[in-house]
């Protein structure tokens, strides 16, 4: 590994506690329904649940059979049904159908609905409307946080992004507040909270409210600083192609809940294999943050080392051999297996990505970020659409073009849209409406200069009552000022210098030295300045909603100042609306450089495809 970590970097808190808490609560809830029961689990809760409590744990608590919620009539014969679901109306409606079908058939069962992480009134309203409110019991499983790795915690709520930012539905804000509250009560008290974005602010306020309601115990803080950031503060970063190993694996194979399924082409056998990707995987841990161009070299070096280790056997006597087999061999075998997997994955990635197309794609992205040869970029995108290379990818490039250029010229906007509709069907009109609403793909406003609009909106946003009026302006307010921001924060390094990806000098290595992720740059700047002073221009360009609050540090005695000092260098970054692996890698890099340890809490891990897919509205 090329990077040498600063020796004084603090230890991360132990997050396995979160898992234990969740497991104990689930068991308690299951025991509320004594006797044998069948458990129906929402499809996207399967993997997270698996990380908390495995099948045998469930069986111990009298769960008979496990089913996935599939919106089909149930075939279970058990007289007790338990549903473990997300608070979604669609699922609740299905349960209503199940109960009503039983009623019609004269079958009597007991039903229990466990909502996680919380129940919504809307769900109960559906139960009431369908006339089964009295027939079921409901509960909440406060399973907010799933630690995916030592430094990644996920809420596993991908719908957060669309609900909150597109539909303007703020019901998850309280969930985010509760999440903070949970972390605060276990690892707090936080001494400083920074944030930017409307949702962040609301989540912060929701958390404060919960803190005031409950009582606080003086404790030794394990996490000192918290940074909240809305996804819509920075759309550029998640829209870029990822080129760091972990991100690339996510882009290509899709990492689900910290786990990836490698197909036969990777495993070089005839079956797929599920692999956990986290710091336990020694090989992966060393390459996850590396630019892909370094990965092969590293892997082959590793392979050679392994061979040497194996070769040690030769010339051993029996006794040595015995210790070798009992102590080292297992580790080596394991390492061997992992190594071959990652080599397989890398080969597969190489096959897909080193083609001409990918190089051109990256070149286009970099041109867009730098803001030159825009016409060439537009014709590249046009060809991309015409050749139907990829529905999602084309949209991604269109959005990237729009954000970096502050909207498309009306002529381009129309022609590109028309071509896209020809390629992928007119139902994408709705997708375009969504993208416009979010400000991801917009037309340049002729005549109206940016500053006028800004000052109009700026005047409004500060006033609480008038804040309500801003919704009318919101689509306008979401103007991206990428070019100005990039200049102000120096996001795009000068292109004339060679960038050595082996020895990165800044976070830009994440994107081959072409761009420093805005979100991470903001975090760096705010931590450095201990607040937003000096960044007024930047926050103005980002439409404000920034805050920096010094929390209560009651109960901290001077005696244990070292521990306190350590906690101050642990920064919890919470992404509302998802974050990418590239951003996590960038923060890890930043942490090594500045002696911080970052813990990333996110509503879900995202990438460009997931982001765009969440905004699709075609009927398929």
């Amino acid at each position: 590994m090329a990077h040498s970590a600063r020796r004084d970097s603090p230890e991360l808190p132990d997050f396995s506690l979160l898992k234990r808490l969740a497991r104990d609560q689930l068991i308690y809830l299951l025991e509320q329904l004594p006797g044998k029961k069948d458990l129906f689990i929402e499809a996207d809760l399967m993997s997270p649940l698996d990380r908390i409590a495995n099948v045998s744990t469930l069986k111990q608590h009298e769960v008979d059979k496990l089913y996935k919620v599939e919106y089909k009539p149930v075939i279970s014969t058990s007289d007790q049904l338990c549903f473990l679901i997300r608070p979604r109306i669609q699922t609740v409606k299905w349960i209503c159908d199940v109960v009503n079908a039983d009623k019609a058939a004269g079958k009597f069962r007991r039903y229990k609905l466990i909502f996680t992480p919380q129940k919504f009134y809307a769900c109960e309203a559906v139960l009431e409307e369908q006339g089964i409110f009295g027939d079921v019991t409901t509960d909440e499983w406060a399973f907010y946080l799933l630690p995916l790795d030592d430094d990644i915690i996920s809420l596993e709520l991908p719908e957060f992004f669309r609900d909150n930012f597109l539909a303007g539905d703020q019901r998850w804000v309280r969930t985010a507040g509760s999440t903070l509250h949970l972390l605060h009560s276990i690892y707090g008290p936080f001494s400083k909270i920074y944030g930017i974005g409307r949702c962040s602010k609301m989540a912060y306020e929701s958390w404060r409210e919960q803190v005031e309601e409950g009582e606080t115990k003086a404790r030794q803080a394990e996490i000192g600083n918290v940074f909240l950031i809305d996804r819509d503060v920075d759309f550029v970063t998640p829209l870029c192609s990822q080129v760091v190993y972990e991100g690339l694996v996510d882009d290509i194979f899709r990492i689900k809940c910290g786990c990836v399924e490698f197909g036969p082409d990777v495993t070089s056998s005839d079956k797929s294999m599920k692999v956990m990707l986290n710091s336990q995987d020694k090989v992966f841990n060393e390459i996850r943050n590396e630019h892909f161009s370094n990965v092969f070299g590293f892997l082959s070096q590793k392979a050679r080392n392994l061979q040497t280790a194996y070769d040690k056997r030769r010339g051993m006597d029996i006794k040595q051999m015995k210790t070798f087999v009992s102590e080292e061999l297992k580790g080596l075998k394991q390492e061997h297996r992992l190594l071959s997997l990652h080599i397989g994955a890398s080969e597969s990635i190489m096959k897909k990505k080193t083609k001409q197309d990918f190089q051109e794609l990256l070149k286009t992205e970099h041109s867009l970020l730098e803001g030159f040869e825009i016409r060439e970029c537009i014709s590249f995108i046009e060809e991309h659409i015409n050749r139907q290379v990829s529905m999602i990818e084309s949209l991604r490039l269109l959005c990237l073009l729009s954000i970096t250029e502050n909207g498309l010229l009306p002529k381009d906007y129309r022609s590109l849209k028309a071509q896209y509709l020809q390629s992928y069907g007119v139902d994408h009109l709705l997708t375009f409406a969504n993208l416009r609403q979010l400000g991801l793909l917009v037309e340049q406003q002729p005549g109206e200069t940016l500053t006028v609009m800004e000052s109009k909106v700026g005047k409004l946003v500060n006033d609480k009552t008038a804040g309500k009026l801003t919704d009318a302006f919101s689509s306008l307010a979401k103007k991206s000022n990428f070019r100005a921001l990039s200049k102000k924060l120096n996001l795009v390094p000068k292109s004339d210098e060679e960038y050595d990806l082996r020895v990165p000098r800044d976070m830009a290595y994440i994107f081959s030295g072409a761009y420093i992720p805005l979100s991470c740059k903001l975090i760096e700047q705010v931590l450095e300045r201990d607040g937003w002073t000096g960044l007024e221009e930047v926050t103005r360009l980002l439409n404000g909603h920034e805050f920096a609050v010094t929390g209560s540090t009651a109960g901290s005695s001077g005696a244990d100042s070292r521990a306190k000092n350590d906690a101050q260098r642990i920064v919890l970054v919470m992404f509302l609306g998802g974050c990418t692996f590239s951003e996590i890698s960038a923060l890890r890099f930043l942490g090594r450089e500045r002696g911080y340890k970052f813990i990333v809490v996110t509503t879900a891990i995202t990438n460009s495809s997931r982001l765009i897919e969440a905004l699709l509205d075609n009927h398929v």
Partner: protein, 818 residues
């Protein structure tokens, strides 16, 4: 005393007088210049917004609220958008009409109450607005940038009415007023020489009877307090007055002033002899004939006169009531005048008193004389005059045997009350007539609203109002708003574990709803506030509290409660004022009640969303006909939303669907629902080249796209001859490298090679490499002397290509030397 008639001015038969009401207590730096001013009738408060049009964000205008006497009540910086008009409702709430059509409502003390909008469109631009009062309450009328009028007759039950278009109107009309006639609210407006009446359904041109044709264009108009009379001012200086039905004319005066007056207000009183109009120019006040100088000031029309508010003082201009005229007119022989004189002599201990008295008695008019004095006292503003009139009345009364003292006693009491509220510190300059019209109940309510609790109680006691109506009512308010809530709060403090909602619930159980609401304000947890508010039927308040809390569950609870409680229209309207609640409900409808969603959009005239809704709905439809009809609806809505692009795209889709259906029927092609590109692809795959060609032309498919499509499809079907023909049909818009690459992809190196020679020079190396012709690639690269291309070729060479490598390396060195 002797000069009581000194400020009287005759106008025809009647006299007009100007009485000073107050020296204003305010201290305005710039006077009333450049300010929006609104003063409420019945001596109501005055709102002042300085320089409303200055837009620089650094200097925010200040909104100030004063009592009628100029005592500051509230003042705060205006943070929202530019304000077009200020106005007061009948219940003394301040309306601020913004340029964008939203109307913000503040109470007398400047705290924000709620807001609503006069239209949905964000492009709405309000040019002018008027706040008017009618039997239905307070209304707002606006004229927008597109020259359309929108009315809301009662802002408490908001129902927007968009009036029909006015023919030929561009921008705002030269002047307009709102009329309430025959239980209908109308707008009267003039555009150049024409005069129109706009009602709900029609726009009628009208002509005021008897207005001389040479009078010119109407530039100003005013309607009287009672909506009975109308005054029109033309650009030639003619002033026409008549009934607001435009059926009779009262008078026409040539004022000889050709500039438009700043303000024109009716000055009349009920049962007035001769209603007149007050016009104000910059330096001139004109009461249809009488004039005097003024500095910039504001006219406030009242029931029985006009208040003239200037930066320093305030005056009341009114027609002198008949009875005052009778008494004070010089050399008047009216019985009241004689009685007053008699009393005056009596006080001087002169025997003349007896003479006067006898004279009245001889005419047996003493009763009438007393009545006149009492009545006149009521109309007088000066307390000394009041006193002398009342004394005279009391004096005269002594000589009457069976005279009912009721009128005298009531007048005395009422005058005391009026004098008390006229007091500058209270600042309600009510005349006796206004007081009668307004009733005592309302006066007490207003005092309570202004938090003059002790005064209100005194008045109730003094006028001997039954306790349940008077003192206790005031006390209850006072107590519930202030004392109890505070006292409870002080007692309980912030000690943890205390639930204000429980205390409030108790208060509510005891029937103290207002107190309960007040107490709930102390409750920190919105979750506790909202259910109780719902129970108390304060659903609007509950909704805004819920929204403030940020707890969507709570919002949803209220929303679903409201849904069941209210009728649909009101429900939607309520939601409209709460965007958070609205988007939540929309989400719910998307999953549960699609039709409601449509109604919601319909109500809001949200054509874009409505169109999107139809598009979504069309995909749930199996039958082509219904799908097409839904898409047609979408097209209509997109057109209304001025989204031409989407309309066109949807129309194209309909065309495509019909085309697909036709081909499906004819050839069983299975095209229905495919995208245009997929359709062409399918057609090419089926060998239906002609139809593909047709689509390509009909839908203006870009050449490049079509060439890519055809190239790929021909290659995939391995129709190499066709492909070659196609490549020669004209110059390829996508170049020939594409041909090479596609052939290679289909594993036909032989065909690929055919196209290599046609590839443009800069791509030649790539083409050669694609067909693995290293020699050719090397030749091309060397010929182009392109180093990076040479390097690319080199990287493909294996060790066996020794000769080639040497050649390339040599070429490279020569290239670099140069």
């Amino acid at each position: 005393m002797a000069f009581i008639t000194a400020n009287w001015n005759p106008l025809g038969e009647a006299f007009y007088r100007k009485t000073e009401l107050y020296e204003m207590s305010w201290n305005l730096r710039d006077g009333l210049r450049d300010s929006l001013v609104a003063a409420a009738p019945y001596g109501g408060p005055i709102a002042l917004l300085r320089e409303p049009h200055r837009r620089s964000p650094s200097s925010r205008p200040q909104l100030e609220i004063y009592s009628a006497s100029g005592v500051a009540i509230a003042s705060f910086p205006w943070k929202s958008g530019p304000v077009v008009q200020l106005g007061w409702t009948v219940s003394d709430e301040l309306l601020c009409v913004q340029e964008d059509g939203s109307v913000l409502i503040y109470d007398l003390f400047g705290s924000f109450k709620r807001h609503f909008s006069m239209g949905q469109s964000t492009k709405l631009q309000v040019l002018e607005a008027k706040v008017f009062h009618s039997p239905y309450g307070t209304g707002v009328a606006i004229v927008t940038g597109s020259s359309r009028f929108t009315l809301a007759t009662n802002i408490d039950e908001l129902k927007l009415r968009r009036l029909p278009e006015v023919p030929g109107l561009q921008g705002k009309p030269s002047c307009w007023v709102v009329l309430t006639q025959d239980r209908q609210t109308k707008v009267l407006l003039s555009n150049g020489p024409e005069l129109f009446i706009l009602d709900n359904t029609s726009c009628t041109a009208v002509c005021p009877p008897g207005l001389s044709p040479q009078a010119g264009n109407i530039v100003h108009m005013s309607v009287s307090f009672s909506y009975k009379y109308l005054a029109l001012f033309t650009d030639t200086g003619h002033l026409w007055t008549g009934s607001s039905h435009l059926q009779e004319k009262l008078s026409e005066v040539d004022t000889k002033k050709t500039t438009t007056p700043k303000q024109m207000i009716w000055c009349r009183r009920p049962k007035s002899q001769q209603p007149s109009v007050v016009l104000m120019w910059d330096r001139l006040l004109l009461v249809a004939g009488v004039c005097s100088d003024t500095d910039p000031c504001v006219l406030v029309g009242e029931l029985d006169g006009v208040r003239i508010v200037s930066s320093t003082n305030q005056e009341l201009l009114q027609e002198v009531p008949l009875v005052c005229q009778d008494i004070f007119k010089i050399a008047s022989m009216a019985p009241g005048a004689l009685l007053l004189e008699a009393h005056r002599e009596y006080e001087k201990s002169s025997q003349k008193a007896d003479e006067y008295l006898r004279e009245i008695k001889e005419q047996s008019m003493l009763g009438e004389a007393v009545r006149q004095c009492v009545e006149a006292a009521g109309h007088e503003y000066d307390t000394n005059t009041q006193k002398s009139l009342l004394r005279a009345a009391s004096f005269g009364k002594c000589f009457l045997t069976d005279f009912s003292p009721d009128q005298f006693v009531t007048t005395c009491r009422e005058l005391r009350v009026l004098n008390a509220v006229r007091e500058s510190s209270v600042g309600l300059p009510l005349t006796h007539t206004q007081f009668k019209q307004m009733t005592l109940q309302v006066l007490i309510d207003r005092l309570v609203y202004r938090q003059f609790y002790p005064l209100a109680i005194e008045i109730c006691r003094y006028l001997k109002i039954p306790d349940y109506q008077g003192v206790s009512r005031v006390l209850k308010h006072w107590a519930s708003y202030e004392a109890i809530a505070r006292a409870v709060c002080v007692k309980v403090g912030d000690s943890p574990g205390v639930s204000y909602s429980h205390i409030a619930a108790k208060a509510y159980e005891c029937g103290r709803t207002e107190l309960a609401i007040k107490l709930l304000d102390f409750e920190a947890r919105s979750g506790e506030q909202v259910p109780l508010l719902l129970k108390m039927k304060r659903s609007q308040l509950a909704l805004s509290k819920a929204v403030e809390s940020g707890d969507t569950d709570l919002v949803y609870t209220v929303v679903s409660y409201l849904k069941n409680e209210m009728n649909r229209g009101d429900f939607f309207m309520t939601l409209r004022n709460q965007p958070v609640a609205l988007s939540l409900y929309r989400q719910f409808c998307k999953l549960q009640e699609q039709d409601t969603l449509k109604d919601l959009y319909n109500q809001d005239d949200d054509h874009q969303e409505l169109a999107n809704y139809y598009v979504t709905a069309s995909y749930r439809e199996k039958r082509l006909e219904s799908r097409l009809s839904l898409l047609q609806s979408a097209v209509d809505e997109y057109n209304k939303a001025k989204n031409e692009f989407a309309a066109k795209a949807t129309e194209d889709e309909m065309r495509l669907l019909r085309f697909q259906r036709k081909l499906d029927d004819e050839k069983g092609a299975g095209l229905l629902g495919l995208s245009l590109q997929a359709t062409i692809e399918a057609l090419l795959a089926l060998g239906l080249h002609k139809q593909a060609e047709q689509l390509y032309r009909d839908f203006k498919v870009p050449d490049k796209r079509y060439w890519w499509l055809k190239l790929k499809s021909l290659a995939e079907k391995e129709e190499w001859e066709e492909l070659e023909k196609f490549s020669k049909s004209k110059k390829s818009p996508i170049g020939y490298l594409a041909f090479v690459e596609v052939c290679i992809k289909c594993n036909n190196k032989y065909e690929a090679k055919k196209y290599v020679s046609k590839v443009a020079p800069e791509q030649k190396v790539k083409a050669h490499l694609a067909v693995s012709d290293l020699e050719g690639a090397a030749d091309a690269a060397i010929e182009r002397r392109n180093e990076s291309e040479m390097a690319a070729v080199l990287s493909r060479c294996s060790a066996s290509d020794r000769l080639l490598i040497d050649r390339l390396n040599r070429a490279r060195t020569t290239a670099t030397k140069k």
